[in-house]
């Protein structure tokens, strides 16, 4: 039987991991909510953002947390332009085309990364990497606490922006009824690009918060995307709050499953909770019927 202190430490670690999952999942669910497509390029774009953070640190010496506004802005512009120049144009207004384009993009980005960055593992060694906060039996690494706090703050800011700003209202209108939104004068194509840009900006933020404790290789983004897909479905596809709560549920389930059942068997916990919630509520925790 595990010591209760260790279990508490596991729960706290699960919360910290969940913070990052939330940010990746929020970007994914926002893109789904508005464009009604699964962004298959999400993992590859996360990887690109991680390389951007790495090279800002390596070449210019910018700390990943200091780079946060820069990378968020850059990722937004990248996502916006990507949608405007490529995804929007090639899709011809058909959702299934967007799906295929993002899948193709993912393959191109992964292989281009391998060509330009090589397959080597790149890490950032910040001076505070070894700092920690002691809480009972738990040693919480300082970078993970910072990431958790920043992730929650960014999600709250994004939530407020979507709820209160004119662009946010337009995003919600397009998500709800794109034909109606077009009729009241909203530039739907522009909102699609803005939403895609915001989704990728979330990845930019996640990349800054991940790099002090993780590594980047051309395939490292995908490790987070599978779990983000699970969170999005669990929380309710397109639901902002669902993604946030789902992220923490998965983070804690993963931590406790790993502790009690072992790292491999522990992953079953995620699938079990996923199945149970979908059995009881097929639309996910906060999803509504289409």
């Amino acid at each position: 039987m595990l010591d209760p202190g260790i279990i508490l430490a596991g729960v706290l670690n699960g919360f910290l991991a969940g913070g990052i999952y939330v940010l990746v999942a929020v970007g994914l669910t926002l893109i789904y909510g508005v464009l009604h497509i699964i962004n298959f390029a999400h993992g590859s774009l996360l990887m690109l953002a991680m390389y951007a953070v790495f090279y800002l640190w390596r070449l210019v010496g910018i700390d990943p947390y200091v780079a946060l506004p820069l990378v968020i802005a850059g990722a937004f512009v990248f996502g916006f332009v990507l949608y405007r120049l490529l995804i929007g144009r090639l899709s011809h207004g058909r959702d299934e085309n967007i799906l295929l384009i993002t899948l193709g993009l993912s393959i191109v980005i992964d292989n281009a990364a391998l060509l330009f960055f090589g397959g080597d593992t790149q890490t950032i060694d910040v001076p505070y990497a070894g700092s920690f906060v002691e809480l009972g039996a738990a040693f919480l690494p300082l970078p993970k606490i910072i990431s958790f706090g920043a992730s929650l703050l960014l999600c709250a800011v994004l939530g407020l922006y979507i709820a209160k700003s004119d662009t946010g209202k337009a995003i919600r209108a397009v998500a709800k009824e794109r034909q109606g939104a077009r009729l009241v004068g909203i530039d739907v194509d522009n909102i699609f690009a803005v939403s895609y840009g915001i989704g990728i900006a979330c990845l930019g933020a996640a990349a800054c918060l991940l790099m002090p404790t993780y590594y980047v290789t051309p395939s490292s983004g995908h490790a987070f995307v599978l779990v983000a897909f699970t969170i999005v479905v669990l929380g309710g596809m397109g639901s902002f709050v669902g993604a946030a709560i789902g992220g923490f549920i998965i983070g804690i389930t993963e931590a406790l499953g790993g502790l009690l059942l072992g790292e491999q068997l522990g992953q079953i916990g995620i699938s079990l909770i996923f199945i149970v919630i979908l059995l009881l509520k097929p639309t996910g925790l906060f999803g509504s019927k289409a």
């Binding site: 430490a9 991991a17 397959g119 990497a129 993780y214 590594y215 290789t217 051309p218 790292e263």
Partner: protein, 403 residues
């Protein structure tokens, strides 16, 4: 008086010369021997595969520069490059593809499961398969006559590693009584972990638990907590590069205090790791392939690789050495005929100058003289601590406590 040559005249003249001389050159040049290099240059172990490919292509270049295979009239080696994509089925498909292209021998595949399946596929055609990297002893225990492994498998690495750990512990007053083994869940990690579990009691250390993890693993916090709750004296690791590095970093961040970290074939224990994370890697030990630091050729190759902007990792010099082993066999066989080449490899006494091995002697495809080294990260560098004849530093064990 200077005679001017017009541009048109120059182009016409050189084209005519080239056209006339091509048949003569082609006629004089024997057909190249095709060497299939199958490595995972994409996928989750892409870096390791790229390093192997680097070593292999450098060696082929060196053989050709030195005049090719002299007993075959200066026949050159030609690399057929294959990407296993870190997947078993793709590795096998590469074997089939290269067979169609007339490959004389294969070298690969970094991952044990890919090497096992690919060499099995090559055995259908009786084509020699040289395992450059691939630790599982299953590779050479299937009775396949076409498989040769120059480097040691995990059995020898575990035996030598256990003996060295036992000696270290004895010298430290036997302070280590228990260990936790963290391993990747594939053939390499699981096989190594099981061997370790069985042999640790022989040096008075109990394996408290075997913890398996997948590739890739996002987060090692749970494993760090689990280890803390078990409070072992030693943590033993057997995993690929990314997970090795991430686990080491997490254990450091979670302040897991043990007498020593001792990995067997730790995929991430290399110059990059110890230089970029000197605090994390400090005092970590690893039983692994290592070049002979007293070999002038090894030192020269290291410089050449590093001057090219790459790291001199074990994948580079192991694949390089395997190409040289093949070239030596071709030289003695004086033919790329498969039967003759297999016979030349089986009776090989090749001296792997880069490695601390001694003359090659294959028994059931396994080189009997292959030995690993024991290394320790000390002050941002890698020092050899065993075997004694190659040691460059004295081991620090137990390690000072983390605060």
């Amino acid at each position: 008086m200077k005679k001017q040559v017009s541009r048109r005249g120059f182009v016409l003249g050189t084209t005519a010369l080239a056209t006339l001389s091509v048949p003569a050159i082609v006629g004089a040049q024997p057909a190249a021997v095709k060497v299939g290099l199958i490595h995972p240059v994409t996928g989750f172990v892409a870096y390791n595969g790229q390093q192997s490919r680097l070593g292999g292509t450098m060696a082929i270049e060196d053989v050709n520069k030195a005049g090719g295979i002299k007993s075959m009239g200066g026949t050159k080696l030609e690399a057929l490059l294959g990407d296993s994509q870190s997947k078993v089925e793709v590795g096998v498909a590469e074997v089939e593809k290269m067979n169609e292209q007339g490959v004389a021998a294969y070298i690969g595949c970094f991952q044990s499961p890919v090497g096992i399946a690919a060499s099995q596929a090559a055995s259908k055609y009786n084509t020699p398969f040289l395992i450059d990297v691939g630790a599982s002893d299953l590779i050479v225990n299937r009775g396949l006559k076409n498989v040769f492994r120059l480097k040691p498998g995990f059995g020898v690495c575990v035996d030598d590693g256990i003996a060295s750990l036992g000696a270290l512990n004895k010298a430290a007053g036997g302070i280590a009584k228990s260990a936790v083994i963290v391993h990747e869940s594939g053939e390499f990690g699981t096989g190594t972990a099981k061997l370790l579990q069985g042999k640790l009691p022989s040096i008075g250390i109990e394996a408290k638990e075997l913890i398996a993890h997948d590739n890739p693993t996002r987060n090692f916090d749970n494993i760090a907590l689990r280890i803390r709750s078990l409070a072992p004296d030693i943590i033993m690791m057997s995993n690929y590069g990314n997970e090795y590095m991430l686990l080491a970093r997490t254990l450091y961040q979670q302040k897991v205090n043990v007498a020593g970290f001792y990995s067997i074939l730790g995929g991430g224990f290399n110059y990059k790791f110890v230089k970029e994370m000197p605090d994390v890697s400090q005092y970590m030990m690893d039983v692994n392939h290592w070049y002979n630091p007293k070999s002038a050729k090894a030192v020269a190759l290291k410089k050449r690789v590093e001057d090219g902007g790459a790291l001199f990792t074990f994948e580079v010099y192991l694949t390089y050495t395997n190409v040289m082993l093949l070239a030596d066999a071709l030289e003695r066989a004086a033919s790329a005929d498969k039967e003759k080449l297999l016979a030349a490899l089986s009776s090989s006494t090749f001296k792997a100058e880069l490695m601390p091995y001694g003359p090659t002697k294959f028994v059931n495809g396994q080189n009997q003289g292959a030995k690993p080294g024991v290394m320790q990260s000390l002050k941002g560098d890698i020092e050899v601590i065993a075997p004694e004849e190659f040691a460059s530093a004295k081991a620090v064990f137990p390690r000072p406590k983390l605060t």
